[in-house]
């Protein structure tokens, strides 16, 4: 099925549209496309097309929407043309566009065989009267407006191919301008229209009286077209600029990541030797030095640990901002992780007693170290923001397919308005009396980690009455992981070095 390009008649003012009395008569086998901006214009054009056909004894087939059928009937009646007698004689056939369309659409696109058979039959029956046939259709327009541009283009092709059938017909199609502009398919569609059709300018052109006015209008149209082209080119240039800027931005992000990663490595290197020397000194002075010297060395060690954690947090947040934070998923026992973490945090503090209540009995799929990091953050916050309290309570429970860990403190609490904001980056609770150390990113990191595990982290608090942070994590579904969870739990419980040692022995 080769498609031979037809003569393009756009803007040829002698054959421009059906609205003007006798201005354009469709040749047989001609496919005419008209763009319209208002329904009124379409109805007038279609009315003219039908009236002209009926007056010359042609058979008219109108495949239109119910609304357009109604409007064109009313319009023609006002013009003194009653469609009912023509309809009875078989000279006028009104088909519903949606129904007809659904008869040959298969899986969202027009089926060529069905289309040819259904529409071919209709045209054949009309042609049986022995008169030329003219068809108005807006099924393509419907598909276009529906957003199924690919199908619209395909149907447009099928109509063109149908011209080769033994019963030639004139086809008139109309497309709403509004649905045509600014679509990625519009260029392809316009190209098809150009190749096969007479394209008629819209109402702005045809409602003008004198030849001179029309010429001016055509010139204006051309100017408009070229200014549109210019605009498209400008937009494209802007898009290109944006793309370049985006690529540069991405490159900068990558460089920033590499920098932060390198910087954190460089910062940790001197800390490593500082810490090493501090601990060697502490060890060597254990039996010789006075208690205060030993205490100073201990404080140095604690401060070095803080410094290390700050550097890790900075590295984490930079990774999070670029979505580079990686998780290593295993299946593990949540209660065990909580117990371990509570013990570790408790071992480093003397001011508070951390009570652990309840259990989840939950197996969790996730990054054990990262989730441990969240717990440490919640516990150290609880301690940090309750300087006058002595207790922190950690509660564990399971419900509705979720495991919940909550950390309650009896400290300064948080204003209701601030409860949401504390999970934002760089946000710290403002306290006019005290200042609290930290970068203000711990809860943001914790929140991101929990969210990435499909869980939730929130706080319930009142100013002066302490805070309770709740963290939920989805439970593993029962049964499905029974065996693998045991296996993986075992492998995780064995520390990395034990595991590696086993492998080493196997090597020997």
């Amino acid at each position: 099925m080769t498609i031979t390009p037809n003569r393009v008649r756009a803007f040829s003012h002698r054959e421009h549209e059906y609205h003007q009395e006798g201005a354009h008569r469709p040749h047989r086998s001609e496919h005419t496309v008209q763009f319209y901006e208002t329904d009124e214009f379409l109805v007038r054009s279609l009315g003219r097309f039908i009236r002209e056909g009926l007056e010359t004894g042609e058979s008219c087939i109108v495949v239109a929407t119910g609304a357009h059928h109604q409007r064109v009937e009313t319009y023609l009646l006002a013009q003194g043309v009653d469609l009912h007698p023509a309809s009875k004689q078989g000279a006028y056939l009104a088909l519903d566009a949606e129904e007809t369309l659904s008869a040959f659409m298969v899986a969202g696109s027009p089926d060529p065989a069905r289309f040819t058979s259904i529409i071919g039959d209709i045209i054949e029956r009309a042609a049986a009267r022995g008169h030329p046939v003219r068809v108005f259709g807006e099924m393509v327009a419907l598909l276009w407006m529906d957003g199924n541009q690919a199908a619209a283009i395909e149907l447009e092709r099928l109509w063109n191919d149908l011209r080769d059938n033994p019963y030639p017909f004139a086809l008139f199609c109309a497309y709403a301008m509004g649905g045509f502009v600014g679509n990625k398919y519009s260029a392809a569609f316009a190209e098809i229209c150009r190749q096969h059709s007479s394209v008629i300018p819209d109402e702005n052109y045809t409602t003008l009286g004198s030849e001179e006015e029309r010429q001016r209008a055509v010139t204006l149209l051309q100017q408009k077209a070229s200014s549109l082209e210019k605009e498209v080119a400008e937009r494209k240039a802007v898009e290109d600029q944006l793309r370049v800027a985006l690529a540069a931005q991405r490159q900068l992000e990558e460089r920033k990541n590499a920098f932060i990663s390198m910087a954190s490595h460089e910062l940790k290197t001197p800390i490593t030797s500082l810490k090493g020397f501090t601990q060697v000194l502490r060890q060597r002075l254990q039996t010789q030095a006075d208690p205060q010297t030993l205490l100073f060395l201990d404080r140095m060690d604690v401060q070095l640990k803080k410094l290390t954690n700050l550097i890790s947090d900075l590295l984490d947040i930079s990774k999070m901002q670029t979505g580079m934070l990686a998780f290593r998923e295993t299946i593990f026992d949540l209660d065990e992780l909580v117990r371990e973490t509570v013990e570790n945090v408790q071992a480093a503090i003397t001011t508070h007693h951390i009570r652990l209540r309840g259990e989840t009995q939950a197996q969790i799929a996730g990054d054990r170290d990262r989730l441990g990091q969240v717990l440490i953050n919640l516990l150290t916050n609880a301690i940090k923001y309750s300087p006058r309290a002595e207790t922190v309570i950690v509660r564990l429970r399971s419900y509705d397919g979720q495991a919940e860990v909550s950390v309650q403190d009896f400290g300064i609490g948080i204003d209701r308005e601030q409860c949401e904001r504390i999970f934002e980056q760089f946000y710290q609770v403002a306290d006019p009396v005290h200042t609290y150390p930290g970068l203000g990113i711990g809860l943001y990191i914790a929140h991101t980690i929990i969210e990435r595990h499909g869980g939730r982290l929130w706080v319930e608090s009142e100013k002066g009455a302490g805070s309770t942070f709740y963290c939920t994590l989805p439970l593993l579904k029962n049964g499905s992981v029974a065996s693998s969870s045991c296996e993986q739990r075992e492998s995780h419980n064995a520390t990395r070095r034990e595991k590696m040692k086993r492998e080493n022995r196997a090597d020997e």
Partner: protein
């Protein structure tokens, strides 16, 4: 002091390009009774006669990102050599995510920098216990 130990002390090779970290590491290990050999990773990858088993270290502490060469490459080479593959390698790095890379390079263990002295000694003892 370790040289005077009655039983022949176990030997640890430290490959670390930062001289202060190297000094801190060797001080910790020497205080704990080990014989320490250090190198900065720029010279001969294994400064011992591989055929003389008595000269081989009992454990290697290896910095992952040396300025001279890649610690992972050294680990691979030693683990690929029949005479040295039995020597446990403990890799050190300031990149906390380097544990997997260390394992992939054939290291037996990984310690993140900065390390805790007690933790380091526990890891070392565990590998030398058998």
């Amino acid at each position: 002091m370790s040289n005077d130990a009655p039983k022949s002390p176990q030997k640890i090779l430290i490959v670390e390009d930062d001289p202060d970290i190297s000094l801190a590491l060797s001080s910790i290990l020497e205080d704990a009774g080990y014989v320490v050999v250090t190198m900065d990773g720029t010279g001969d990858p294994l400064p011992v006669n591989v055929n003389d088993t008595t000269s081989l270290p009992d454990l290697i502490l290896l910095d992952m990102l040396l300025s001279g060469q890649d610690g992972r490459e050294l680990a691979r080479r030693w683990k690929g050599q029949p005479s040295t593959r039995h020597i446990p390698i403990v890799m050190l790095s300031a990149h906390p995510s380097a544990a997997q890379e260390a394992q992939a390079a054939g290291a037996n263990d990984f310690i993140a920098k900065p390390f805790e002295m007690d933790d380091l000694l526990a890891h070392v003892r565990q590998h030398l216990a058998h």
